[in-house]
């Protein structure tokens, strides 16, 4: 928030400055300078946050051909729970920082021909209408000659499929500027790798000594047991399905936004909560059975045994019934026994 107020106050300052500078006939270079300074003050990877006023200032009120292109990412804080949008925003930032670092140092003024911007829906709804944005993610490139903002080049589905690389390709194709190879921050920096390797080497003798003595956590059966049961739980919950398909934990009801939907019909799909619930039901029965056969038999008090066992049995029975019910509901299978035909009437 601090960054944002900072930014808006800066914009306010620039607006004032702009009023004075409008008198100047050679306003192109002013606009570029302004964009450059906005870019350098932008908190992340040189993406400029535009507001409704900026759109008219930098785009609609400037006669074509403009001396620069803008590539605009349309963002919405409301949709940040949708993980793809945030991913695209990150990739967009990567393209931006790559472009800046590749074009600012080479002497040519290519760095001032293209600016990466973003427009946020809650603050700048008017701009969304101006660009005729209906769905996100939406990335538009406003070339120097674009007059009508609804007709600017849009990144289509094919370009969205990929990551920063395909965005860069889109930019290069339309602006004839080079973005260069995307510079991703490495997963681990070199010093981090060095530290890790050093730690491993230093701790190796200690670890080996411990292993030989048999004192590590690895020798604790409970850890192995817990690990095995956890892996089982996560697998039967279909966690891998949720990860690969990027399923949300739950969705909101289409008709009533305040309602949550946790279970969906059809065995081709599942939601996160749904999977974990059933995974829990799968696991709890086995755990209770193990509890009864391994722990409860050692309890001396008969009544205690009786009560806990009854409780376990009731829970297990309920869990199995629940899973059978859910499965029949979800798959719509109707399982029936094959009795001998003479038994039927």
């Amino acid at each position: 928030m601090v960054v944002q107020t900072n930014l808006s106050s800066r914009i306010f300052f620039f607006l004032i400055a702009l009023l004075f500078s409008l008198a100047d006939s050679d306003s192109d270079s002013d606009l570029i300078n302004e964009l450059v300074s906005l870019r350098s003050s932008s908190p992340d990877s040189g993406v400029i946050r535009l507001y409704d006023d900026d759109v008219s200032k930098f785009l609609t009120s400037v006669p074509t051909p403009r001396p620069y292109s803008l590539i605009i990412f349309f963002d919405s804080v409301n949709l940040h729970s949708h993980s793809k949008l945030q991913k695209f925003r990150r990739e967009f930032g990567l393209v931006s920082s790559t472009f800046i670092s590749n074009n600012n140092n080479d002497g040519s003024n290519n760095g001032t021909k293209l600016f990466f911007c973003e427009i946020e829906s809650t603050h700048s709804e008017a701009s969304f209408h101006r660009f005729n944005v209906e769905s996100l993610p939406h990335i538009s490139l406003v070339s120097p000659t674009t007059e009508n903002l609804t007709e600017c080049d849009q990144m289509d589905g094919g370009d969205f499929a990929g990551l920063a690389e395909s965005m860069a390709e889109f930019v290069e194709r339309l602006t004839k500027l080079t973005v260069g190879p995307i510079q991703r921050p490495p997963f681990l920096s070199k010093t981090q790798i060095g530290i890790i390797v050093a730690l491993i080497i230093i701790s190796a003798p200690v670890l080996i000594k411990k292993i030989l003595k048999g004192e590590t956590l690895l020798h604790d059966r409970r850890i192995w047991l817990t690990g095995a049961v956890l892996v089982y739980f996560f697998s039967v919950s279909g966690t891998m399905f949720n990860i690969i398909r990027e399923m949300p934990l739950y969705v909101k009801d289409d008709e009533d936004q305040s309602k949550f939907v946790f279970f969906i019909e059809g065995s081709e799909m599942q939601l996160g909560v749904e999977g974990y619930t059933v995974g829990f039901l799968y696991t709890v029965v086995g755990l209770l059975l193990a509890f009864v056969t391994n722990v409860l038999v050692r309890v001396k008090n008969l009544n205690e045994q009786r009560m806990s066992m009854l409780l376990s049995l009731v829970i297990s029975f309920w869990a199995v019934r629940q899973v059978v019910y859910l499965d029949n509901w979800k798959t719509e299978y109707e399982i029936y026994p094959y009795w001998p035909s003479s038994w039927r009437h």
Partner: protein, 778 residues
Amino acid sequence: MAALESPQPAATATAMRHAFGNVLSVLILVLIGVLAFSIRLFSVIKYESVIHEFDPYFNYRVTQFLSKNGIYEFWNWFDDRTWYPLGRVIGGTVYPGLTLTAGTIWWFLNSLNIPLSVETVCVFTAPVFSAFASWATYLLTQEVKGSGAGLAAAVLLAMVPSYISRSVAGSYDNEAVAIFALIFTFYLYIKTLNTGSLFYATLNALAYFYMVCSWGGYTFIINLIPMHVLLCIVTGRYSPRLYIAYAPLVVLGTLLAALVPVVGFNAVLTSEHFASFLVFIIIHVVALVYYIKGILTPKMFKVAVTLVVSIGMVVCFIVVAILVALVASSPTGGWSGRSLSLLDPTYASKYIPIIASVSEHQPPTWPSYFMDINVLAFLVPAGIIACFSPLSDSSSFVVLYIVMSVYFSGVMVRLMLVLAPAACIMSGIALSQAFDVFTGSIKYQLGRSSNSTDDAEDTNNAPKDDASAGKTDKGEEIVKERSSKKGKKKEREPADKPSVKSKAKKKALVLPLETSIVALLLLIMLGAFYVIHCVWAAAEAYSAPSIVLTSQSRDGLHVFDDFRESYAWLSHNTDVDDKVASWWDYGYQTTAMANRTVIVDNNTWNNTHIATVGTAMSSPEKAAWEIFNSLDVKYVLVVFGGLIGYPSDDINKFLWMVRIGGGVFPHIKEADYLRDGQYRINSEATPTMLNCLMYKLSYYRFVETDGKGYDRVRRTEIGKKHFKLTHFEEVFTSHHWMVRIYKLKPARNRIRGRAKKLKSKTTSAGWSSKSEKKNPWV
């Protein structure tokens, strides 16, 4: 079940009981075999004795070739009927285990003057091997937790739906024999581990060889066993038995695996096998440490350990470095795409559409588990816990097995098949333990109410202790015998067990009578539900041969035999050397049943070739004609389910053709076939979609059936109803329109075509101007 053995070596009565128990076990095992075989016959009873689906047809064709021409011809077989014009070296690219097995059975039966056809042998190979697999499960589980658990596990495996799905009569595929080989290899590994016998170690390598011959899934074994060895070493369970179980397997197993042509030098060159070599080195280092520890005094040992460990570490580092360099030098890091998609689950969906397109490579949702292992999903955690009390080398192996397989099954639904035996073993252990406790409690409580309490305490205590103690004693005896032969140190495992036993002796481990009875009844209900589910699954869900389809409606049973009808048409009405193009799914069937040359088939070894066919199917008629003509194709076969509502037809697979085609030929773009990201064939479909070959061949004259062109699979009216074909002519459409075969029109005389072209320019509406310019045949 567990009361089959008795521990007290007292008198003849006990011996009698023992003998009776053994006879009963054998009888039960025979019955389990019968059950495993007969539950898989639903497909034969409900349909007929045919080979199922796609891959089995190829295996059947290979087996036919083998039985006709002998093993040497088979080994050198170059098949020119497929992947035209490339052909395929069959001998070097198939896992020969299944075909050799069925061929041997056929040969054996024939030499006994039992004249079965090759097809019959192929149809029944899978059920027979399921019976073997149940027996192997018994052996494996018995090694881990005694024969009670073994019998329970075997009966569960005999009817586990996941395994039934791959082994019904007629499903003549690699998995049919491979699951048996997998379980048997594990059994021999455990057996070697428990006995330390080199005899079993050799058998183990041979079983592994059979597995390598049978199925690409052998990599699961060669990674799981090293992992277990490593686990044993890390948790301080190293023993000479472990060394004997592992070292011969790696050496002999790798040598034998390299003998299989399809594996060859992959057995030492690909990353899937590196884990085993790494562990091979580690186990030697550890063995050396233990050896030195044995011959040195503790003080000297401390000095030596530093030396040995540092040398060992240096060696390890060098080897690791070499491996890393080797791995880094190959483009995919030496891993095959399928294995990579197991480690990084999102890999395939990003980079390899041909793997991602196969439905059995999708991750499963929770109902899949209920469908495929049913109530076993509830019992497995109890089995895991039972394996930890007490934890032995063998029980830690089955725990590792279940953990790995359940993880992999979560990535790929196909690997549910590998999970199924593990789940059966675990559930068998859990069930057997629960039955022991409950029946033991009931027996004890009943005995206490009738006898005087004190006497009963000792005698009736027995049932519970019998079960566990019986197993331990037996296992212990063998272990002691072997280890004394080897004259090595005391083992940890036997040392653990007596303490558990003595603890159990102290107090009667019983539960209240009423609740035990209730629990027992609930368990039996659970088992009954499992049986009902499995029989239902075998009869309804997994028995369809998918070459013959049936549907039950109000006016009776409908049989759709369109596939065989069309393949028969092809074989009777086309020239023997004609080439037939279709999507790869139907390649094996076309070569096996119609005996015609195909362009691509289910062995998806050449992505470019498949992409070419995909591109042709996604292109407009003219471009497609050119592609097909360049491949000498005479006929194009498409499968269409719109009339009768058969959902797995080519229109539903079409997006994959576009994706795979577009992966190689970038002018095919998926977005051109989608309207707002939606795949449509109705009036909202894109022009590219409505003009592509697949659409035209599927829906040509479709409007004549009902006047509206209503597609029952997509549940919509088609977008473009009246159109003519310019470069293809319809030659055959099967009874229910499921298979449609088109012939490529011959190229006409160029000059005459030019004159005609001008006329047609006005008539053909949906053509792009570019293709009209060059099109001489309209």
